[in-house]
Subunit: 615 residues, 2 copies
Amino acid sequence: MSNIDQTIKIIFQPEGRAVHVLPGTTIFEAAGKAGIVLETPCGGKGACGKCRVTVVSGRPEPTDADREAFSDGELRSGWRLACQNRLTEAAVVEVPQDARFFGQKILVDGIKRDVAINPTFRKIFVTVPEPTLEDARCDLDRLKGCLADVTTNPIARLPLIRTLPRLLDEHNNEFTVVLENDEIITIEKGDTTGACHGVAIDIGTTSVVGILVDLVTGESKLTASRMNPQVSRGDDVVSRLSYISENEHGLQELHERIIGCVNEIVAELCEKASVPPEQIYELAAVGNTTMNHIFLAVDPRKVAQAPFAAVLREAANVNASDIGISINPFGNVYTSPNIAGFVGGDTVAVILATGMIHGDGVRLAIDIGTNGELVLATKDRVISCSTAAGPAFEGARIQHGMRAAGGAIDKVVFNKAVRVTTIADAPPRGICGTGLIDSVAEMVRTGVVDYTGRIIDVGEAELPDFLKRRVVESEAGNEFVLVDADKTDNGKNIVLTQRDVREVQLAKGAMRAGIQILLSVMGLAADDIDEVYLAGAFGNFIRRSMAKQLGLLPDIPSERIAFVGNAAATGARMVLAARELRAEAEKISKEVEYIELAGRPDFQQEFMSSMLFPT
Amino acid sequence: MSNIDQTIKIIFQPEGRAVHVLPGTTIFEAAGKAGIVLETPCGGKGACGKCRVTVVSGRPEPTDADREAFSDGELRSGWRLACQNRLTEAAVVEVPQDARFFGQKILVDGIKRDVAINPTFRKIFVTVPEPTLEDARCDLDRLKGCLADVTTNPIARLPLIRTLPRLLDEHNNEFTVVLENDEIITIEKGDTTGACHGVAIDIGTTSVVGILVDLVTGESKLTASRMNPQVSRGDDVVSRLSYISENEHGLQELHERIIGCVNEIVAELCEKASVPPEQIYELAAVGNTTMNHIFLAVDPRKVAQAPFAAVLREAANVNASDIGISINPFGNVYTSPNIAGFVGGDTVAVILATGMIHGDGVRLAIDIGTNGELVLATKDRVISCSTAAGPAFEGARIQHGMRAAGGAIDKVVFNKAVRVTTIADAPPRGICGTGLIDSVAEMVRTGVVDYTGRIIDVGEAELPDFLKRRVVESEAGNEFVLVDADKTDNGKNIVLTQRDVREVQLAKGAMRAGIQILLSVMGLAADDIDEVYLAGAFGNFIRRSMAKQLGLLPDIPSERIAFVGNAAATGARMVLAARELRAEAEKISKEVEYIELAGRPDFQQEFMSSMLFPT
């Protein structure tokens, strides 16, 4: 009953990359599956006209939004908005460079922010004048004179000063000065002004993502990711904190693991982009407060106990070599500021990237990861909370759960048959987050799961035959066979157990309860929300209808729900490219209020009712 | 013919310290000989009334200045101004604490500057509130909250932050925060706010002097000094620079020697004052540009060749442990900014200490060391130069020259006999700088030396018998027997050779030529000078009349000549106690013009004529 035969083949040019998707898939989704992320500053509403592609063959009829965005001639040439067009037959799609998420000179976040390039690190090629009896200024003052256009008061520290007379001689007074803000941090032979890079890192509890950014052009060049190697010491924040409490060298071990992981990502980016590590001058890392503390080797244990106070809120800046990050040894490692013990720098980055604290209206950001962080903003007040969603949506604690890798079931529809697609069209190996949401949502819609979350007994209710035969009894209650053994990678059934459904209930219940509490603190109702930003590594691939069907999101019109992708990583890219945004991050960190759900008498009640499925 | 029998004994109380001096010596000079340095903000003119002492016995008649300064009752009680009263008989003198140079809460330099205490390092005892659900601020923010009265934006770096949670636990939230400007550099157990010290260091080419300063009270507690151990690698700046050029590891060797020397001085100060080295948080070092560069391990070789450009002009701040200075490992080492390759941070410190760039009139500062640095200031312009005086005045290159230590002949009068005094009244061992000036001045006055500097042949001119017998022939020309063999420490004559006289001529000629060039650059004559500041380790002990007799100083009225002692060290003490003076030092360093004597066609002529003695 797997549906590989029913899919359509879409080829993306100029890469020539082919994917198989279900009919009705948008071009945007199909491109994402092919690893091509398109710009959607408007959140996929067809409003911004950025995701423009040419459909060479298998062209759908133009939509209203297409007619708005393109001339008749363009439409005849095949131009379409990727977010608005659904593919119904095999197609060939041409994706121009400027529609790609990483193809712009000016960094644009997932929503609406344009940022001019102004990185912390700059390079200036200088020719230092020789001293004369008329101008016998010291070496350093003559060098500083060459930087007058760039900074009025350049700073040099002793180690650099010590090298200066030799460098002037060796390089014949010509070299490239590397500035970190106003400090001369190093001097490089020749003119290297064209080579200045940074890496943005999103340290998730489960996954770590790195993006290579060209600090001259602002362009994001490549991404690389790894499983967070701390996972073997606990799959969520609380279990990591326990591990540190219970093991004398636990903090050091977890610290070394994440530093090693980040270094692997940096090395991969360098190799793929042919950029030497010495040409990477800054790494900007965002993560939740515990990940932030462990990355910095700051003891996070107090976060685990009431009143959940962290050690560090503000941003940290550390010399790369001091913290063991393998970029230029004079480079800087920046970590974004936190808000509270359970709302960290990744949330600050999401707020920064979405620009949600600016402007009018009621805005809700939902960053779905191992924890679910929520931010609700009005013109006058911004509040946040964290819900212990658990790693279910990242594939953990689910019997056949897995990360969004090849063979992961990522989309499920119950329509006369159980239809699934997998990443890379590989034989099914397990279920990733979106597949899990789809599956449970469809099980609820079709009555396989009742509103309390129980997988019903066969015969208890009327089920179509194609579903009925899939509900089987097991020792731990009923389970649902999603893919039969003969269609899977290892020849065994892929199932969803009663416990899996409970995990999804806990995760979505926690998240939804958090949303309700934030609304209640502000005296608002769900319908007051003007815009929802769905962020997170897999946020872009959740189907809004499924999320509402599951009760993860309140029932608000889908056009108010925008996908902002990995907004935390976008925020990290933004602070890399534009140093003045660090002051905004500090302001966000200080001014966004934290609501401690555990401290609220109404939370348990809200949580219990949020665990139920909509009827 | 030594005159120990003709001296008078003076006892200083409450120390009970006794010295023997020639009749006619001022109380101020006698106290200096006893190691008790008195305040003379007015430069010894009897104007400021600071050097007030009680003469218990052997009381001189009150002078006019005494009558001005004291009531009749006070005069009857024995109060006198130390700078105005000459002792003619054995006496007992009581020196109150507030007349002592190091006995004040507010630092006062040798001349006129009052400075409020505002050191770079401050300590604050804090009790950090425990976090609560209502105040779940992070550890660092709660700590920062305790510092709100002291600094609005305290800075903490990662190594300190890492220690914070443990320190809060171990010290039960109570401890002392050490601030360097606005940065929290360390945390100490208990309340240590009373213990905060600094060391001012004057790194001379020949001598190194350290002063322990209490940064809470501003009081200078102790001094200690050493010969600069680089002396064995050359006795002046130029020979040190040659040593570095000619030896691969020369810079490193000389750097280690001076660091070791400074550490010895610090250790001696700590031991004598019973202050643990960890309670010293800052060391402020002044020295000429070459000493400054060697101390910082910055290659100074370019200073040796035209156009004499240094590597570093500005002040440096280095972590104590990074440069190997044995104070608190988190402490700071500050070096004052330089003016040019041959006018360094010691001259900046002299200018700062004297306050000579403020106010009206024409002021000349003369800092006499191995080099002679000169500064001429008017309201509108300040110029400086350096003269390679050589180390003659520090006792080097003189056959029987020695430092101003026990047994050094420090005062000489030819008056029917050759009368000398020695430091600590020990049997004569050699001649120090003041003794040298006295001797040559007296030899010139009595005709033993002619105006060209030649020691005359016996019979060439009429000499009194007590001198005639002292002029003897030797292989290298005539020489003058200052002390007969039977009166000296080692049983051999102490003599001044023709070459010794030439060294003095070179030194005083260079200095005087520098003065004349500076005056000529400004279009001024010697008589236009309103005030001369005589600085340098032995500056306080030169006799003005002798200096003029020698031609070292122009013939201007003695009351315009003020002794400011080791003003370079005073400047170092001042920047330790008052951080805002560092900005003034930077301004001085940038704005004082440097006149390169070697680049001037008129210098050689001026130098030749300045070598002659006045007739």
